[in-house]
Symmetry: C2
Subunit: 212 residues, 2 copies
DNA sequence: TAATTTATGTCAGCTCATGACAGATGACAA
DNA sequence: TTGTCATCTGTCATGAGCTGACATAAATTA
């Protein structure tokens, strides 16, 4: 990789870190682009060459998470039932973050805390999640052998995502706490859902061993 | 009601209608506050005395909906299981909108279409919904005889809300179409959930007529 | 009608965000 | 090494969203 690209990556990371730190210490609205740019020693105009908006930089770790989750899901074996594949993707993502370079994990946790404590960012994060949800639905539909407009596929993704959101609701101290709450919610969800609810109709569990 | 209050209400409604029409015809971002104010013949400054932001006016019908829904839920008899109470509140709200003055219903449908076609407004709407979700959880928790931090209560609300969101995903032509899709999704949900999943643990259905 | 409260308009100012242009810097071939 | 090219960066100008301060106009109350 050339010097140019490395420099760009460093500037980008520096902008994210500076922004997150300023946002968390003095508040999102109270922080100006000028302050972020000054801390990284670039012009305010340059900030906007890296991020489309002030919101963009705050949500960039969340956007990365979404990409990561989708990538995990696509990589899951097709033999897994849809809801299982979703759950496992989340577990995989969490453990990757835990193993990975501390800088990235730190950004994710910081962004999580920031988003959760700033209403306008919460809205932005929800928008990202909703947009990714469409892609998740496409993947789940593929696994269920249906088109993306299949309501049951949409419901499967929707229920899973709502669990993820609940998970983010509590206070985020670190990744382990997040993982713990996630497992707890998953147990509750499985207790509330009918076995096989996420399977394609062809493979649905027979109600009382009666042939259809 | 005095003349002053009536005038204020008329100005407010006029601002909402002007904004929605402009947003829908030429796009949300492409519309300026000046244009909205000019159409109602007030100063731009006055606009901000009625609405905190450009987003606020676009989401005001959605915010009203949220208030309305919560009011319906609180009015539901305590004898109803939580998820039933939620479903019935939605039905009640839809039929009230259908009966009510056409202006309000028109605003709701317009806002729906607008929000669905404007990413930033989608985020804003999600924020409103999430904020109301906290109050819905409190009410559901009360009905289940738990505190608001009870995870199962949160799950009940979360699943219901995710159905509502799915409902809004499709194209919104009118209120009847919305109601139809809602019923369809509700049927699917009930088919996916275990009977009694939303009941307090004390009243949970026994798995096979075995006394606990 | 007079006094008080409240809504509105005007103005100045800040931040966010974008286009245009010029200068600086890394990439690459002769 | 040097010159050329592509790309990144800074400066400037501009417009839109939003807010505080103050004066004016309108409605309420006495």
């Amino acid at each position: 990789m050339g010097l140019r690209e490395r420099k760009k990556q460093r500037t980008r990371d520096a902008l994210i870190d500076a922004a997150l730190d300023l946002f968390l210490s003095q508040g999102y609205e109270a922080t100006t682009i000028d302050q972020i740019a000054a801390r990284v020693e670039v012009s305010p105009r340059t900030f906007f060459r890296y991020f489309a908006s002030k919101e963009d930089v705050a949500l960039s770790p969340t956007a990365d998470e979404q990409e990561m989750f989708l990538a995990e899901l696509v990589a899951r074996p097709l033999s897994e039932p849809p809801f299982t594949a979703l759950s496992q993707s989340m577990r995989a993502m969490l453990s990757i973050l835990k193993e990975a370079d501390g800088a990235e994990a730190s950004r994710v946790v910081k962004a999580q805390r920031l988003v959760h404590s700033t209403p306008v960012l919460l809205g932005g994060a929800m928008r990202l999640i909703r947009e990714n949800e469409r892609r998740l639905i496409a993947e789940v539909a593929r696994r269920r052998g249906t088109t993306p407009d299949d309501l049951q596929s949409q419901l499967v993704v929707s229920v899973f995502v709502s669990i993820g959101l609940l998970c983010m609701d509590g206070p985020t101290e670190d990744l382990s706490g997040l993982a713990r709450r996630y497992e707890e919610l998953l147990t509750l969800a499985e207790r509330s859902l009918r076995p096989g609810w996420d399977l394609p109709v062809r493979a649905e569990a027979a109600p009382a061993s009666v042939a259809s």
